[in-house]
């Protein structure tokens, strides 16, 4: 363990990261990119058709884009970084070094995006003459381009975690950035962003805009974008699926926690609803039922959540594929640690000798260093909460299981350490298992 650790005993590491990441994806994709595009599209149409009301509507949307992206959007973006620093320091440390200049570029684009957004909103009323309005629309277009660029950069980093490609051998920036899933995942994400925005904004307009003809105008524009985006999301999604490693591919269904059939039915249904919604939007924009827009709204948010969870999970046992395991240990160091011991390589474990007295304590630290990234003792995800899951396992069973666990459950990295360290881990686990279940018995008898 190179660093100290914090514990999220109930949530678990994965959930903390997932909450922040999912909120951020919804906003960065759906609001910053998708809604910006829709907003300028509406503004443009309002300009062409001299529709004052539509222009007002676009302005209201711009205001919400401003409010949401500069608060929840920006802070959850920084938040992903904050949370990975606290929870996965080795991995974010490596990523920052590999992609440093990408991040610097991203930073410049990000500043540009926010500054344009501020100007775009606050000049809406003062740039009114046709000349100025054209300029304003162009500003909106550059806003969309800037938001897209931030995605184009950060996707390189995200994709490299799953498919670092040649980087593993060359350690070259461009090999890492232009990795095998970069293009498909970028394409997939950008059209997904459009779909998400269409669905979310349509739902809100359906709720809050009472003027039927205004809503119709807006929905027509959404319909055009939808007709492009839905097929593209589908096609690029397939390309993306094809380009991920086989071992990861096999974990997709598993990582959602559903059975194969449920997975197919749920995702198929969601896709079907989307098609129905889109056709309705195009054929009869005035009569889109509120129930339908609610359903696609839910389906899309669900899909984004699923996408994030899957993307994070199928990388297991790695956090940077073939290079670093989810617990921060390097793939190449396994033999060395088995020989020299995990304690010898853990700055933050103060005990370097294992004795009968400190055995459980050391075990706790080994657990924190090697298992906490995916497990809790008593957290809400019962499958990952070892205290609950391992009821009835005795020390012998644990001791034979752990050294082979990565073969039994391929999502797990191998245990790294000496015989004594394994003993310590087992002693700690046994104590926790007893405690969790001891507590349970007491509370049941009460």
């Amino acid at each position: 363990m190179n660093f100290p650790y914090v514990e999220y005993t109930w949530l678990g590491y994965g959930t903390v990261i997932a909450i922040i990441a999912i909120i951020h994806v919804i906003i960065s994709h759906g609001v910053a990119i998708g809604t910006s595009v829709l907003t300028v599209s509406l503004e443009y149409r309002a300009f062409k058709t001299e529709n004052e009301k539509l222009d007002e509507l676009a302005k209201t949307m711009a205001k919400w884009v401003l409010i949401i992206t500069t608060t929840v959007g920006a802070m959850t973006g920084v938040g992903i970084w904050f949370s990975t620093t606290v929870i996965q320091p080795d991995s974010i440390g490596a990523l920052l070094r590999i992609f440093f200049w990408a991040w610097v570029t991203e930073w410049i684009v990000f500043i540009t995006e926010v500054v344009i957004l501020i100007i775009y909103y606050y000049t809406w009323d003062s740039w009114k003459s046709p000349e100025k309005k054209k300029k304003h629309i162009n500003l909106g277009i550059s806003l969309s381009v800037a938001s897209w660029l931030t995605m184009a950069i950060i996707t390189g980093v995200l994709a490299a975690k799953l498919t670092p490609g040649k980087w593993i051998d060359t350690f070259s920036f461009w090999n890492a950035f232009l990795n095998p899933t970069y293009l498909p995942s970028l394409g997939f994400r950008m059209f997904l962003a459009m779909m998400l925005a269409i669905v979310v904004v349509a739902f809100l307009l359906r709720l809050f805009v009472k003027d039927l003809s205004l809503r119709e105008e807006a929905f027509k524009v959404f319909g055009v974008w939808g007709a492009i985006s839905l097929p593209m999301t589908f096609i690029l999604g397939l390309w993306y699926l094809w380009s991920i490693p086989e071992q990861a591919y096999d974990m997709i269904v598993w990582s959602t926690g559903m059975t194969e059939n449920t997975f197919k039915i749920i995702n198929g249904l969601a896709f079907l609803i989307l098609i129905v919604f889109l056709v309705w939007l195009i054929r009869s924009p005035k009569t889109v039922p509120i129930i339908l827009s609610l359903a696609v709204f839910g389906a899309s948010i669900g899909f984004i959540g699923e996408f994030e969870v899957v993307r994070e999970s199928i990388r297991k046992p790695f956090i940077i594929y073939d290079y670093m395991y989810a617990n921060g240990l390097l793939y190449q160091n396994q033999e060395k640690i088995n020989e020299e011991g995990y304690l010898a390589h853990s700055t933050w474990i103060m005990e370097k000798e294992i004795t009968e007295e400190n055995k459980v304590e050391v075990g706790r630290e080994v657990f924190a260093g090697q298992c906490l990234s995916c497990h809790t003792i008593d957290g809400w995800r019962e499958k990952r909460a070892l205290g609950k899951r391992l009821v009835g396992w005795d020390e012998e069973a644990l001791k034979t299981y752990i050294p082979t666990m990565h073969n039994v459950r391929v999502a797990m990295p191998p245990f790294m350490g000496t015989e004594e360290e394994l003993d310590a881990l087992v002693a700690y686990l046994k104590k926790e298992i007893d405690e969790v279940n001891g507590v349970k018995e007491v509370s049941q008898s009460e």
């Binding site: 100290p4 620093t85 320091p89 974010i92 920052l96």
Partner: protein, 345 residues
Amino acid sequence: MNNLPISPDNVLPIPAPIGLLEFLIILTFIMHILFVNLTISLSAGAVGLEITGRIKNNSLLDKMAQSCSFHASVHKSIAVVLGVAPLLIISVIYTQYFYSSTILIGKMWLNVIVLLIIAFLLLYVYKFMWGKWQEKKVLHISVGFVAMLILLFIPLIFIVNITSMIYPERWIDVRGFFASLFYYPEIWQRYLHFILASLASGGFYMFLYYSYKSWKGNNLKDYEQTLKLFGAKVAFWVTVLQLVAGFILLFSFKTDVRILFLGEDLLLTTLLVLSIVLTIVLCIFLFLAGYKDSFKSFTVSLAIFVLIVGIMGWMRHEVRESYLSPYLEKYPRTEQLSIQSDDIG
């Protein structure tokens, strides 16, 4: 110093010459912190003016407050985005220190996200509801007040982090934010220095903004003219206080570092003296601004301000380097790629 929990550096090399990165961190941090200063002081200023305006039943003060709140809400967005670069660089060149100090206050560190989201959303409510909530003043003031409290609290989290990162020999004993708050030396002195700097920058900003506006040929409205002079006055008095607060901070440093600024190190001593002299000069300009305002004094004071801020940012970096220098030697950073890595990343 043998058993300090300073980890070996990440095996991947630091992706640029360290000197360049040090330059960039000073530069980008200054830009970031300036906007942070403005966000905090203008929010506090807005709330303060609004409350005074209500007590005195003075609509001029209310207008001044509204102007502050508008600027605060724009600057907060820029403050956040500008913060990304220094955070990136500190993570890359001080990985061994900054990560540990961050994780030691890990939960509070993550709370920053939630707290800032709340504060920023409140700032929008505060700004956009100014007109609509004229009849609900108490509610409106409370919204601004809560945002202000959060904004005044957040810097403490950052200060604890960057103070703790230069004290690796103290890491073992204390964990968690609140414990650290009263454990590491210098924290409250840094906080005082920072808050005063914020207030001074906020006042100075308002002075500059409206000077610029009138110089561009706009006739300043009553409240704008008042706010401009009020800004200069705040900047002046706070900066006078800052001269004291600066010394309090200097004397809270550990002796080895303090004496560097007091003659031991020529560069640092020069920087310190220069910053004090410039600050006094700036004070004179600010004082005079109350009596006559010319465009010349505007540009000169702006130039001096930029210089002072630059020197402050540079000194701040040198303080950290001085604290860390013994460790930096003993626990080297990875500057070159070694494919045959022999330590754990």
